[in-house]
Symmetry: C2
């Protein structure tokens, strides 16, 4: 049983983590920290947290676990603020989508706690934001990636892995830079493409006609373009190089396709589509197999 969990950032992910741990009877007390009192009041009303604070430094006193669940570029300020009062035996983790940035921020702003900081990233979410959208089932049968450093304390890794397992998640470990490259392709690239596509359509002279005539597939396809712009700005800024690399590769594939349509190469076009369909269907089979095992 976790004693005192301090949740810095009470949004979709943080709120869902608190709900899942409470549902599993895995935590005694959750203290929530946010910059806005309205968020705190809502989280208290919803029973997601037991106490609210606007001061992360004060909140982390006597913490067992501290979870940072705010947009990435707030990390340096938060790490600076919590260092003084953080108990020596507290375990710290985060849920940020980019691990290299977080690791560097901890090395710079909280070096004395580096051994007990376990960088983490739950591969789960929806296009909705805020504690009002949180739910206890969000992490069930989802992967949570932990990216410990060589200097990370093994007991600290186990504390965080156990915490996530209580939410129903499947915990895997990998190198932080490798995580950032993979996620640039599977998550960051689709998001920036979805944003670009919607921007493209919004600039049409008659956007209302476009959106009205769009089929259900269009709304599925662009669902992720309704995600939080601040969070995605920070992901793009903190994982710039891997994202720029995958964007460059995607642009090359797109140019190949444009060229194929321009040349009216019907045979190649069919192959291009068939190979994509095959890869996607095969990926989905892998995914379904994992879900069944879970």
């Amino acid at each position: 049983m976790i004693g005192r969990l301090v949740l810095i950032g009470i949004g979709l992910i943080g709120g869902s983590l608190a709900r899942a741990l409470k549902r599993a009877n895995a935590v005694e007390q959750v203290i929530g920290v946010a910059r806005s009192r309205d968020t705190g009041d809502l989280a208290l009303d919803l029973g997601v947290i037991d106490r609210f604070s606007m001061d992360p430094g004060e909140a982390v006193e006597s913490a067992s676990i501290v979870v940072i669940a705010t947009p990435l570029r707030t990390f340096p300020g938060i790490l600076n603020a919590i260092g003084k009062n953080l108990p020596g035996d507290a375990t710290i983790t985060d849920v940020g989508s980019v691990k290299r940035y977080v690791i560097n921020a901890v090395k710079r702003h909280l070096p004395e706690h580096i051994e007990r900081f376990v960088p983490g990233h739950p591969i789960a979410g929806t296009e909705c934001s805020g504690v009002g959208a949180s739910f206890a089932e969000l992490f069930e049968r989802r992967h949570v990636v932990l990216t410990p450093l060589p200097e990370t304390n093994e007991a600290a890794v186990n504390v965080i892995a156990d915490m996530w397992r209580r939410t129903g998640a499947d915990v895997i470990k990998m190198d932080g830079d490798y995580h950032d490259q993979i996620l640039a392709a599977t998550s960051h690239l689709p998001h920036v493409i979805a944003y670009s596509l919607v921007r493209c359509l919004a600039e049409h002279p008659e956007p209302d006609t476009l959106f009205e005539l769009a089929a259900g597939g269009f709304y599925d396809f662009t669902r992720i373009a309704s995600s939080d712009p601040v969070m995605w700005r920070d992901i793009c800024m903190t994982n710039r190089k891997p994202i720029l690399r995958t964007l460059g590769e995607f642009k090359s594939r797109l140019e190949e396709l444009i060229d194929t349509i321009e040349r009216e190469d019907s045979k190649l076009l069919q192959e291009y589509f068939a190979q994509a369909k095959q890869a996607r269907d095969a990926g989905l089979d892998v995914k379904k197999k994992i879900a069944k095992q879970g």
Copy 2:
């Protein structure tokens, strides 16, 4: 009540149309035409059609309505095949995703029936193909676009509009070229982008890791890349110019975004994402309002 409906092409769309009309008790007999006997047997077993033929020319004798629901580039051959036996009072329509190509094909290959040919396109579908995936509810509260020509007989338009209304669809009319431009943006562009994205990921040195670590959002985003490659090859080949134009616009938006990330222009990036989110959420509101009215 429709007397004899001849369905040329018994796939997801054709099969769903037959099911919907039968459920509404709006048709006496459905004759299905396909190149493969297996398709015909399956459609008979499922009760989607009442009789099967592999010869479109023979099948259209004594037809009340003929619906062409095959990939676009089969149209010239089919129009040539049915001309001889088509009753003078039969109404013909199609479900193709590109209207200018269909209109030109009818003008060339079935000019004597041009007045009774009503080009149509139901804005509905799933990523699945084939009669086995068809279902009667596919068109409920969906738009069906008809693009009659100045020479199209008004009674013929009403016959086809009534047919679609019996499936629960909402019928709208517009110019064929306008349709092709709109659909290039809302449907064809997202499909080719999804295919390109999956291709891009499939070329990664470790595609299995990528697909395993992809979140649910990725599978929603790429769902349309599981669509039928032959159908999409034909759409790209027959709506080349509007698709190339929207692809060019999308590429410009993507290059803007790459440039913004390269320059680390955090403010502009947030605006870019926020405007896309706003446009998508507003489009979804329009869509939900229509669904509620339906």
